[in-house]
Amino acid sequence: MNPTLRGFVVKELIQTLRDPRMRFVLFVVPLIQLTLFGVAISTEVKNIRLAAFFESKDFVTRDVYERAINGKWFIPAKSSYTDPYKVIQSGDADAVILTEPGGFTRSLGRGQAKIQILVDAINVLQAQSVESYLSNIIADTVSDDLKIKPRPRPIIFDVRVLFNPDLDTAIFMVPGTMCMLMIIATLVMTNNAIVREKEMGTFEMLISAPVTGTEVILGKTIPYLILGLSQFPLILALATLVFRVPQKGSFVMLLLATTAFVLTTVAMGTLISTFCKNQSQASLAAFLFLFPAIMFSGLMFPIENMPTYVQWLAYIDPIAYYMGLLRNIMLKGGDLYYETTRIGALLVLAVVSIWISFKRFRTTLG
């Protein structure tokens, strides 16, 4: 590395890390957040508040309700309302079991029983789970209470969840949040570092100084590349040691993927900075980029089904590539073709962003 560039990089690193709060945001906050999201979020619907309206003699419905409460998904709902619709509307319960007048038990004996469940469907995912839990519980209770021996089904499916058999939340969430924490640090910081110099007018000074354009760009990006990469061991250690996220694949591949990812985010940060005049614009632009990038990453909702004209946005989303890579390498042990194509795609994104940034720097400052 030539001395000018080295000086540049050192200056930039000192300038960033001088502030203890910045060190805190860079190295401590991601760990806190990873812990938070790894523990807090559950992909399984639990603690569903259930209410049931039935007559005292209706023992089958009572059994259904008790079986549900004694299971692991439901908790009893408390409500002052007596109208089942209001019980749900007021938010006191997520589901209500209703029987017809005369009771479920009596009509079961006559062979024309009806039972109804009301489910709060504001959260679509939760509503679907609630329905399937309840319909199984009702079926089991009815066969038990009426002493019907359930006939075995002729065809059964043995469903196994690979890579995460216990549906462990941390294994789902941690690789995903890792990418987001890293991209926020690198992309936002690079973008901001360049725009800050522009806003303060020091960028013009740099141009007039005896440094080449390449040195300016490299001097502004390498420090953030280093910072981004230095976050990775911390985050990875927390993920594997504390959250027991497996690391089945090759470590070299993991490092390659991470380097490619950080390179891409830094390059994209540089590119975004060429469009911004001041820091408030830079922050809005970063938001404009990061928000869709997080949404289209595949952590919040499946991305396979998006309309094709939206899907191309996922093709320029570095988080989507990197999250796929992390999951493939860490959880599955890695597939060489998949790894190389995705890392390749990240590098292409990096090169294109840097190339456009160069072009734009020349025209705006040259």
Partner: protein
């Protein structure tokens, strides 16, 4: 403490309006961005995946096994593709060419006819949290169909179960997602808008000038929050129009309740942004904090997608610190449920308290900063 003078606060507000109008890009961002985001994600969000790639390894290769594959293929959920070898089929999951593998063992048809339980195996990709739940429930549906159609199994129960999905009878993903999405977008936007204002004044040195005037911290705070809340309210109205017209999301609640909730919620986040700005005094740092707090926590902990009630107890309480979590309740209620204010007193009270605390803290910190 000096008296609060409205005129001075309004002068601050006017100065801030000049600031915003001089920087049209910020204004365009603030107004256009939420609408674009809602349009984009409203189109894209669908929680029930379709056309899931299914690698099939059929060792039986009989009429029944083909019928079983057809049950998967004719549902809109799966697109099967065949592999002869089971290892190849499973490998498709490792190389992301398939989300699930169906393995039909030899003797499948024989077992069905001889009354032994015929067992097929489904292995699914547990690395992808967004599809696991859906695939498991699809397999359940297909299992019932297959039993009925292939083995002629009469699965009728001695009772009739009717499920009514309230407030979103067709389980429309967009109705569920859009009100929450709007809250998340507005949260980040409002934090970002104010997070930079005070830091910018410190960096450019104009804060020193402000300090020498008789204006008090509370007046500065009010003066800075006011214009941005007007800007954000306009953005909310635009988001509302898009949600109603483009995506057909109903609005069954009361406009006054929704509007009031909206203002409280915006004040909370504008004040939070201001607080970050006052504490950090540097735009880069303020931005980093704003992003970290606004972007990830509201996305993941506001109940927007991952239900709060499913979280461990401690975190259910923890989410109460985030005003967005409360406003998600209010917004969903206003759009889909339409219950009265007496059912919403909790979120309103929480927002009110948060707003008061955040403004108080901003003003206090400000004061300390002014007289070091």
């Amino acid at each position: 403490m000096k008296k609060f003078v409205w005129r001075r606060a309004m002068t601050m507000a006017r100065k801030e309006v000049f600031h915003i109008s001089r920087d049209p890009i910020t204004m365009v961002f603030a107004l256009v961005l939420p609408v674009v985001m809602i349009l984009l994600f409203g189109v894209a969000i669908e929680f029930n995946p379709k056309d899931i790639k299914l690698a099939v390894s059929d060792y039986d290769n009989t009429q029944d096994s083909r019928l079983l594959i057809q049950q998967f293929g004719s549902s809109e959920y799966f697109v099967p593709h065949g592999s002869v070898d089971v290892n190849l089929a499973v490998k498709d999951v490792f190389s992301e060419k398939a989300k699930a593998t169906l393995i039909i063992p030899p003797r499948f048809e024989k077992d069905v006819y001889n009354g032994r339980q015929a067992e097929a195996q489904v292995l699914l990709d547990g690395a992808d949290n967004s599809t696991v739940g859906a695939i498991i429930s699809y397999v359940g549906t297909i299992s019932s169909l297959a039993n009925e159609r292939i083995a002629g199994f009469d699965a009728r129960r001695p009772y009739h179960l009717r499920t009514r999905f309230l407030f979103n009878p067709e389980l429309n993903s967009k109705w569920f997602a859009i009100p929450g999405l709007a809250v998340v977008v507005m949260t980040v936007l409002s934090i970002l808008l104010t997070a930079l204002t005070v830091a910018r004044e410190w960096e450019s040195g104009s804060m020193e000038l402000l300090l020498s005037t008789p204006v008090t911290p509370l007046e500065i705070t009010v003066g800075k929050i006011l214009p941005y809340s007007v800007l954000c309210m306009v953005a909310v109205v635009m988001v509302y129009i898009v949600a109603r017209t483009v995506f057909g999301v109903p609005f069954v609640g009361n406009y006054w309740i929704f509007g009031l909730g909206c203002i409280l919620f915006l004040i909370c986040y504008l004040a939070e942004g201001l607080f970050i700005s006052i504490r950090t005094r540097k735009q880069q740092l303020a931005l980093q904090f704003g992003m970290v707090i606004g972007l990830l926590t509201t996305n993941l902990l506001s109940g927007f997608i991952f239900p709060i009630s499913s979280m461990p107890k401690f975190f259910q309480y923890f989410t109460m610190l985030f005003p967005a979590r409360w406003f998600v309740d209010i917004a969903r209620d206003a759009f889909l449920k339409g219950s009265g204010i007496h059912d919403l007193w909790e979120p309103f009270l929480a927002l009110l308290i948060s707003a008061a605390i955040l403004i108080f803290v901003s003003v206090k910190t400000f004061k300390r900063d002014l007289e070091p």
